[in-house]
């Protein structure tokens, strides 16, 4: 596989300029990293330089001025769905830096800001919630002239979240530019390109108070966008086109589902269930939850403009147009809860797939053709913002070009009008190459050491295959020292295995065994194939399968406040990637008791408290980054790996480990995990692989698992 040099470009063009690592060697990568598009360099840079590329406090000074003359952030339309959420998100994140958030809205607006308070209390506690609210300054204005008072706060950044009307927005910017000439303006618009609005775009994603993603349109990287990143948010660079990326898919899916409903009479509530199973989201429920009146308008508006720009593929369905006008919700009111159930015959099931996949992939081809984002970003947007269970590109990759062409063809036969819109089959022709092969996993190296980054929060077969390719690539490049880490961008935490991957294993023990064996074998490569490997844990948490994966590295280095957990027992499932014996082989007797508690109780532990028995080192981010890099550099002072016992190791019993007794299903699940731990630890490491896989697979076909969260999620999704 060809490699590229970084920094990357937003479009994923592999022939980009050559990047330099701290020690002067060129950084080579399987594909451009997503950080490059924001001007943030590479992940390898972070390790080799021993720090993050930018710091929040420095960027705050740059954007809002020095502390003694700090300016403010203004959010207009602050009482709306987006505005209120973003007021909370920014007020809490800017609080430590003394940047106030001015919440501006019309005098008659519903008090959306106040409604957020309960949520704040729940997430932060009353004191912090009060402090955050104190950081919000609420101003009314008449929509035509800005309040005099505003000047006093020195507005430096405006996040405009007023209604989706082009002229209204433009007049609003003129008002601000007149009053505050240097102000940086972001629009949250769902659909209008930056070129139409004349400002940069920071398009956020529902639910607005917690979703961290922003689609960013800007000519070149700005400190404003970098600040988003430094504050722990997830800006993603996208191209300047109608509806960017997210709303092509979000609105496009509703459009396709409506066409299916029109074709088969399927009621919306039921179509939602089919789409949930096929793609992941509940498009109709999502609109109702956001608020049908606003969401129907926004979806209609996006589709309407896309329709004008591209053709009838996007022209809003009549049912949407009617509901855009009326604001009517998609689900029936409570007194008309659905009475007659629904099922599809084989022909209708095919139609469902053809319409939904055909429409989405035709839309994807346009987005690809226009290079609206780099491939990993484009793929992640569906997963992070639209509840797609697999990113649209990962789906396309699994389907292959022939199947895609077949589905689009079938869709056009059912809805001939869509054939009148461009469709670029060629965009799917090179899916075995370049960034297409590494949507979730990237690898970079400087000639001596490498970094493998994972940008998906949960592990599945796609991640597994990509990780194997990344390992192969590094080895092929002669790299024998590696850090495995989250990507510092798209994945803000690593939550564990994607439980969707386990659904087939609920009724097929061999499938459970296959997953467990395959994933564990990949993980073992981190142990066997490298001279030195460091699992680097940062972000909010690292749990379950992702933690098991990391454990396979020779050493684990973690940021001290990251939470680590093996929550399998609470689902319940058995840890399937060797969590039941691998870490035990490195721990002393005391450590093994703690490990047993970790897997049997399912409770999280701070990395700082797991030092010596689970992680090898925990420190601040910079300290941890440097510690990991020392291992790569073969520094004399570098951390030494703990010895690894290849033969059987003794395990404490539950009583010795100091576990409080429990009852019911939890007790049974604990017992099953304890048996697996005992047997796997009692076997030499070679045999332990199959011991663990068998236990894990057998448990998944049992009734305890079926009655638990995994089983009931599966039932909810599959049974109609």
């Amino acid at each position: 596989m060809a490699s590229v040099t970084t920094p990357s470009t937003a479009t994923g063009d592999p022939r980009s300029a050559q990047g330099n690592s701290a020690n002067g060697g060129a950084v080579r990568a399987m594909r451009p990293g997503t950080l490059g598009a924001l001007g943030l360099g590479t992940v390898l840079d972070i390790f080799s330089k021993g720090r993050l590329p930018v710091r929040a406090d420095e960027l705050v000074d740059q954007v809002f001025g020095p502390r003694e003359a700090r300016g403010a952030m203004v959010i207009s339309g602050a009482c709306g769905v987006v505005g209120a959420g973003k007021v909370m998100q920014f007020a809490s994140r800017l609080l430590p830096y003394g940047v106030p958030v001015i919440a501006l809205d019309l005098p008659g607006a519903n008090d959306g800001v106040q409604q957020q308070f309960d949520g704040l209390v729940k997430s932060f506690g009353r004191d912090t919630a009060n402090a955050i609210m104190n950081n919000v300054i609420r101003l009314n204005y008449d929509g035509t002239s800005l309040p005099k008072e505003l000047e006093r706060y020195r507005p430096k950044l405006l996040l405009e979240a007023i209604p989706e009307k082009l002229e209204l927005k433009k007049a609003h910017y003129a008002l601000f530019r007149n009053a505050f000439p240097g102000i940086h303006i972001w629009s949250v618009t769902s659909g209008f390109p930056s070129a139409q609005l004349g400002v940069d775009i920071a398009h956020p994603s529902f639910p607005h108070q917690i979703n961290k993603v922003f689609e960013i349109v800007e000519a070149r990287p700005t400190p404003h966008t970098q600040l988003l990143w430094a504050l722990g948010l997830v800006p993603m660079k996208v191209g300047d086109h109608w509806s960017f990326v997210l709303d092509v898919f979000f609105c496009g899916l509703l459009q396709a589902t409506l066409q299916f409903c029109r074709h088969t009479n399927t009621p919306y509530w039921k179509a939602d269930k089919y789409i949930r199973k096929l793609i992941g989201p509940n498009p109709f429920r999502a609109h109702d939850v956001i608020g049908a009146k606003g969401a129907n308008y926004l979806t209609w508006s996006c589709l309407h403009h896309l329709g004008e720009a591209y053709g009838p593929l996007f022209t809003p369905e009549e049912a949407l147009t009617a509901r855009m006008r009326s604001g009517q919700a998609w689900y029936p009111p409570d007194h008309f809860r659905p009475l007659v159930n629904w099922s599809l015959d084989a022909e209708q099931e095919q139609a469902l797939e053809a319409i939904v996949e055909g429409a989405l992939l035709q839309m994807t081809s346009i987005v690809l053709h226009e290079q609206r984002a780099d491939l990993p970003t484009m793929n992640a947007i569906g997963e992070l913002c639209a509840q797609f269970s697999n990113g649209i590109l990962a789906r396309a990759r699994r389907m292959g070009p022939e199947r895609i062409a077949h589905q689009v063809g079938a869709y056009h036969r059912l809805f001939p009008a869509a054939a009148g819109t461009t469709w670029y089959p060629d965009t799917f022709m090179n899916m075995a190459e370049g960034a297409w092969t590494q949507l979730y996993v990237n690898a970079e190296h400087n000639g001596k050491a490498g970094v493998i980054t994972i940008s998906r929060e949960s592990y599945n077969d796609d991640v597994d295959a990509e990780l194997n390719r990344a390992i192969d690539w590094l080895l092929g490049q002669g790299i024998h020292r590696v850090i495995l880490t989250g990507d510092f961008h798209l994945a803000t935490q690593l939550v564990g295995a994607d439980t969707l991957a386990f659904h087939p294993a609920l009724s097929d023990e061999r499938e459970g065994e296959r997953i467990s064996l395959a994933w564990s074998r990949t993980a073992r490569r981190l142990h066997h194939d490298f001279r030195a490997s460091v699992g680097f844990i940062h972000g909010k948490r690292c749990m379950g399968g992702m933690l098991e994966l990391m454990m396979h590295c020779h050493q684990l280095v973690a940021v001290e406040d990251t939470l680590l957990a093996m929550p399998e027992v609470t689902i319940p499932v058995l840890p399937g990637m060797e969590g039941c014996h691998w870490p035990f082989r490195k721990a002393d007797a005391e450590g093994r008791k703690k490990l047993l508690r970790l897997v049997l109780e399912g409770r999280p532990v701070k990395a700082a408290d797991a030092s010596g028995w689970l992680v090898d080192h925990a420190g601040t981010l910079e300290n941890a980054v440097r510690t990991a890099w020392q291992v790569m550099e073969q520094d004399a002072a570098a951390l030494k790996p703990r010895p690894f016992a290849e033969g059987p190791v003794e395990t404490p019993d539950a009583a010795e480990a100091g576990l409080a007794p429990v009852d019911g299903p939890l007790k049974e699940a604990r017992a099953a995990i304890a048996r697996c731990v005992a047997e796997a630890c009692n076997a030499p490491v070679d045999l332990a692989l199959t011991v663990q896989a068998r236990h894990s697979a057998a448990f998944m076909t049992g009734s305890l698992c079926r009655k638990g969260r995994l089983g009931s999620d599966y039932d909810k999704m599959m049974k109609h």
């Binding site: 009479n265 399927t266 009621p267 029936p332 809860r337 009475l339 007659v340 015959d345």
Partner: protein, 399 residues
């Protein structure tokens, strides 16, 4: 050469196969006893049309028919259309047990008049748990009457003071019908029904429907005309007479259910039907009113009037089928028109499969048209009686 008659509705068609009914479970015997039947009918129509591959988006008008009040009935066709998935205009009509046929005639008129291209006919009723309530009735000595809609009306014709059942006994005596013939006729009707069921005919008419409770969990399947059991002449003979020739076995039973079909322009019918080569038209209809408390003889009189007006004869009919709440109806019809009752009501009739009122005659029409298609076409006579000693008849032509 066979006689032909011109249609009074030459531009209206019933597209073949774009129809269906629910099964008709006997009253209080199924989850239908617990639902808003208007909602059920709307959702079921969408479902049936889906099974028949007809997108309801083609419809531009909806005529609904029902006789037992249901919750939010004030909103009539618009409410039902909402549950069906398209915001259609339309209206509610009712004519007691003739509802299911009159609704078809009204739909044909709607198309013939040029007002609509594709009209949904949707009839339904829930006799189970019918509404109970009070009517302020200032002239009544109690000032306020407590009513139970279904049973009060079955038992009392306010204009004669008699019951429906009494009208059957009355007509049996008037036409000197014998109990023996009635039992024999009834047993034969049961045989016809079970033959139709075993042959798979019924499955082409009725669509099984799965119901959900308010939590969205399965509440049961409406997949059978529950309450219909095989019965033989011997058992019928042993039953106690409630009035002349009328026993619990020789009359129909109350049921719940819905039935639907479409009436469209010829062009739309070709577009929607899975067998566009079949053309089904409504030729004409007739109605009469018999003497007080003579309801079962009214249908025969309506047929006579209709034949006279169309110039057709019973010999021209390929299929004859009626709504026969009392076996007496068929015996009297047979006697007045000289038509062998064995030749009519193949595959089943309301005497056997029950009587949910509104949809009864719509299902009769659907079954009759299916049978005519099986026979290669011809004239189809459908008729029945209705409260108020009314008889109604209509002739369709299947080509």
């Amino acid at each position: 050469m066979a006689t032909t008659a011109a249609s009074a509705f030459p531009d209206a068609r019933i597209p073949y196969g774009t129809w269906g009914s629910s099964y008709f479970p006997a009253w209080q015997s199924s989850p239908l006893a617990e639902v808003n039947i208007g909602q059920f009918a709307g959702e079921s129509m969408a479902r049936i049309m889906s099974v028949r591959k007809v997108p309801v988006q083609h419809l531009d008008y909806l005529i609904i028919g029902s006789t037992v009040p249901w919750h939010w009935k004030f909103w009539n066709a618009t409410l039902v259309a909402g549950c069906l998935g398209k915001r259609l205009p339309g209206f509610h009509m009712e004519q007691a047990c003739a509802t299911g046929l009159q609704a078809v005639v009204l739909a044909a008129a709607q198309v013939q008049g040029g007002s609509s291209d594709a009209v949904g006919v949707l009839t339904f009723d829930r006799t189970s748990d019918s509404p109970v309530g009070v009517f302020p009735e200032r002239r009544a000595y109690r000032r306020t009457e407590v009513i139970s809609d279904v049973w009060d009306n079955f038992g009392f014709d306010p204009s004669t003071g008699g019951s429906m059942l009494a009208s059957a006994g009355n007509v049996a005596r008037k036409h000197r019908i014998e109990r023996r013939e009635i039992d024999e006729l009834t047993a034969y009707r049961y045989e016809q029904y079970f033959k139709g069921k075993e042959s798979g005919f019924l499955e082409r008419v009725a669509v099984p429907l799965d119901l959900l409770n308010v939590q969205g969990k399965p509440l049961g399947t409406i997949g059978e005309d529950t309450g219909v059991k095989r019965i033989h002449a011997g058992a019928l003979r042993a039953m106690r007479e409630l009035d002349s020739c009328v026993t619990s076995g020789t009359q129909t039973h109350a049921a719940d259910g819905m039935a639907t079909l479409l009436v469209t322009t010829a062009g739309k019918a070709k577009e929607l039907s899975r067998r566009p080569e079949i053309a089904i038209t409504l030729i004409a209809k007739a109605e009469v009113r018999a003497d007080a408390s003579c309801m079962p003889e009214a249908p025969g009189m309506a047929v006579q009037k209709l034949l006279a007006r169309t110039g057709l004869s019973m010999a021209d009919m390929a299929v004859v089928k009626d709504h026969n709440p009392f076996a007496v109806n068929d015996a009297v019809f047979s006697k007045t028109l000289g038509y062998d009752w064995r030749k009519m009501n193949n595959n089943g009739s309301p005497l056997v499969w029950g009587h949910p009122q509104g949809p009864t005659l719509t299902r009769v029409v659907i079954e009759a048209l299916e049978e005519a298609v099986d026979l290669g076409g011809g004239y189809v006579l459908v008729f029945g009686c209705a409260a108020g000693d009314v008889g109604m008849a209509a002739i369709f032509k299947v080509q």
